[in-house]
Point group: C2
Chain length 221, copies 2
């Protein structure tokens, strides 16, 4: 059966998964890029980036950070994203529906991606096998659709914080890997606030620090 996973999700040491004021210029919110410093130099990210941009692949680092980055795609089929993970637009979609995600014409998903939104929109087929679907009837419906599309693969909840919090609260996540980055943001999108992980049945089952992040794996008890 498909597992539901959060993987490679970066959080600041004071618990923010993105900085404040997300915009076209600051997709991760102000200061939020620092959360991802651990993954950018990895071989896995370098390969993904070159695939997206068409640039020559960088060499990239191996080791703990790359191991986690690589596991982030292992046996992953469909993704579920919150609407802000897909773009900076709030409210209704623009009439020309020109926004097709942050990732250019070949997004790194190569699978069905279910985007949670209150605003209906037709599916978009991208290069490389990524299809964005827009789900307006809630997290359980999105998960049902993802499972139907999974064909034995696992489902990755890509974020953002609000989406992950909703799935955790509903106890629908089987495994969660967080990368705590050695920065504080002070404001932004909080992951833990008001969330009692032990009470929801989650425990930190693995702690693997690297020089760039404290990697934590959570599983259901």
């Amino acid at each position: 059966m498909s597992k539901v996973k959060v993987l490679c999700y970066s959080v600041s040491m004071d618990g923010f998964a993105a900085g404040p004021d997300q915009s076209l210029e600051n997709p991760m919110g102000v200061g939020g890029m620092a959360l991802h410093a651990w993954v950018l130099p990895t071989k896995t990210f370098q390969a993904m980036h070159s695939e997206m941009t068409g640039s020559a692949p960088g060499e990239g680092t191996t080791g703990v950070d790359n191991d986690f980055a690589s596991k982030g795609f292992e046996n992953i089929g469909p993704w579920i994203l919150g609407r802000n993970m897909f773009g900076p637009i709030r409210g209704a979609w623009k009439a020309d529906e020109s926004w097709e995600g942050w990732w250019g014409e070949t997004p790194p998903y190569h699978s069905d991606v279910f985007v949670l939104t209150h605003h209906p929109r037709k599916s978009i087929e991208m290069k490389g096998g990524t299809v964005f679907h827009f789900v307006t009837d809630g997290i359980e419906s999105a998960l049902k659709k993802a499972k139907a599309a999974a064909k034995g693969k696992d489902i990755r909840i890509g974020g953002g914080a609000s989406t992950i919090r909703q799935y955790l609260t509903a106890k629908l996540i089987d495994e969660m890997h967080l990368a705590l980055a050695p920065v504080v943001l002070g404001a932004g999108e909080p992951l833990f606030a008001g969330l009692n992980l032990p009470a929801l049945g989650y425990e930190c089952s693995k702690y693997t620090p690297s020089e760039n992040a404290a990697h934590l794996v959570f599983r259901k008890k």
Copy 2:
């Protein structure tokens, strides 16, 4: 001039410095002892513990965790503690004033310790040079008294979370070392909630992970 430091302060990965429901049986709150698992086996803690209890000193570990534990006492003179760090009693002191702290007759401070409280009480002289003073007129008064007693040494703010938050908000802390323990508590005493460290001028200047904790040092920018 004396520096004001928070050192070896343990926090869960979801931001709690103690579990909920502190009591005589659970000085760190329910589940809170897990936060301190990194320090208990260290040579520094083993020596301190044997000094407090009179037991034979354990050998103890050396390495990153012990380096931080040891630095926690380097050039430290007076301490400042919140009232709950001193004991489980809430409200007025008991008539017999028999409570003399968690640490037995020889507390590990060997200096003046200023306890923040709303309830006046006479100072208590303990074995080994520790003197508990009770300060009822606020954090700045306690710091002034500590500085007057410091004689060139530094002042350590021992906690709890509420006390540290007050000193951080007043920008009175020069250096803060947190040990993030690989556990989640889900409830208890939050350290970061509503606290914008970058806006207060603090940044994470050093990240040193060990197998047992992610050590972070914060300094004023």
